[in-house]
């Protein structure tokens, strides 16, 4: 007769480490939140495109993955290295996120693009300023899009990437 093994032991689950102040409120947290926000926009864009312009969606996904990888690398680095290099790495992450946000203009639903325009106008005023000759033109374009309540759609294309991407990708892979 087999010995009664008794009640099954309850597995001990280690509680997740509480996020530190730096991880919740620092620049790193802000950038990580932005990655999440852009991933949501990417999912929305993928649903809207329904298989079209896949190369743009893949490009955005790769940019977000790279940005996340940079943040993870920074978080795991020893503190002297983190202190010395964080500004440069944050800039690199910001550049990735900016590029992803720019690409999303091409694939997001029109309502999402229009929702960005008030913020875009504010950013044009803040970062380009009146001394930039194109700032007025940019603001006019934003106003026209807001008045029309629409943006002109690009021509419907197949899911294959354009030749420029095919040329650029091997060059990036060599780096």
């Amino acid at each position: 007769m087999a010995k009664d093994p008794g009640p099954m032991p309850i597995p001990v689950v280690e509680p997740a480490a509480a996020p530190t102040i730096r991880r919740r409120y620092g620049p790193q947290a802000g950038l990580a939140r932005e990655v999440g926000r852009l991933r949501l926009e990417l999912a929305e864009a993928a649903e809207y495109q329904n298989g079209r312009r896949q190369y743009v969606l893949d490009d955005v996904r790769r940019l977000l993955d790279d940005a996340e990888a940079l943040l993870v690398t920074l978080a795991g680095a020893p503190w002297p290295r983190r202190l010395g290099r964080r500004a440069k790495i944050y800039e690199a992450v910001l550049a990735h996120l900016q590029r992803a946000g720019e690409e999303l203009y091409l694939v997001s639903p029109p309502e999402a693009v229009l929702a960005r325009l008030p913020g875009l106008k504010a950013a044009v005023r803040q970062y380009l300023g009146p001394e930039n000759l194109r700032a007025a033109e940019y603001l006019t374009l934003c106003d026209e899009a807001l008045r029309a309540g629409a943006v002109a759609e690009p021509p419907k294309t197949a899911a294959s990437p354009p030749p420029a991407v095919a040329v650029v990708e091997p060059a990036r892979a060599r780096e």
Binding site: G30, G101, R147, P154
Partner: protein, 202 residues
């Protein structure tokens, strides 16, 4: 579809180009902040080197950099005093008092600093510059004072050098205030290091 004005609405590519122009300007501003921080840190490092090297180097100078006037025992205030060449220890002491003045100035200046999420640490670089600047300004001021080349000021005795050194160390604020103003402007231009999404939500 056309806008009420008759013009066709802008294309997605046009809107992306606008976003690219904004992003380029924003990234450039962030890079400028980092470069300026690097310049401040380099200047602070050179200032520290100068401050450390000055006292021992003074012993090898043929001309007297500084004469310390010791009050004689029982002498009245304002009476002639005996000058002697300042030693490396004297200069280091003046620098130490100047450092204290610079520290007081830095702490006083912190009240103007807004809470910043600037990842480049420009505020830290500003503070790092003020301390060696205070030490060097103290030596500079005491040398000018003892040389009596500034007409209304007369040379001082060794008993008052520490007070003047602290004062001159604090006075480095007159030079570094330009750095502070430029830093504030650059941080304002760069904006917070948030994401394009947060900027969009503004």
């Amino acid at each position: 579809m056309t806008a009420p004005g008759g013009n066709p609405p802008p294309t997605r590519q046009q809107l992306r180009a606008i976003q690219q122009a904004v992003d380029d300007a924003r990234l450039s501003a962030q890079a400028s902040v980092r470069n300026y921080r690097n310049v401040l840190l380099a200047v602070a490092a050179v200032s520290v080197l100068c401050a450390v090297a000055l006292p021992p180097a003074q012993a090898y100078l043929s001309a007297d950099l500084l004469l310390i006037h010791l009050p004689e025992a029982g002498a009245q205030a304002g009476a002639d005093t005996t000058p002697r060449r300042a030693t490396a220890g004297d200069l280091a002491t003046i620098e130490a008092w100047g450092l204290l003045g610079g520290l007081i100035s830095a702490v006083a200046g912190m009240r103007r600093m807004r809470g910043s999420r600037d990842p480049a640490g420009l505020h830290l670089a500003q503070l790092a510059l003020k301390l060696p600047a205070g030490a060097l300004t103290a030596v500079f001021g005491i040398v000018l004072l003892q040389a009596e080349i500034v007409p209304p000021l007369a040379r001082i005795g060794s008993d008052r050098i520490a007070a003047f050194a602290i004062l001159f160390g604090f006075a480095q604020e007159a030079f570094t205030v330009f750095v502070d103003r430029r830093s504030e402007k650059m941080l304002a231009d760069a904006g917070p290091l948030t994401s394009p999404g947060e900027a969009r939500a503004a």
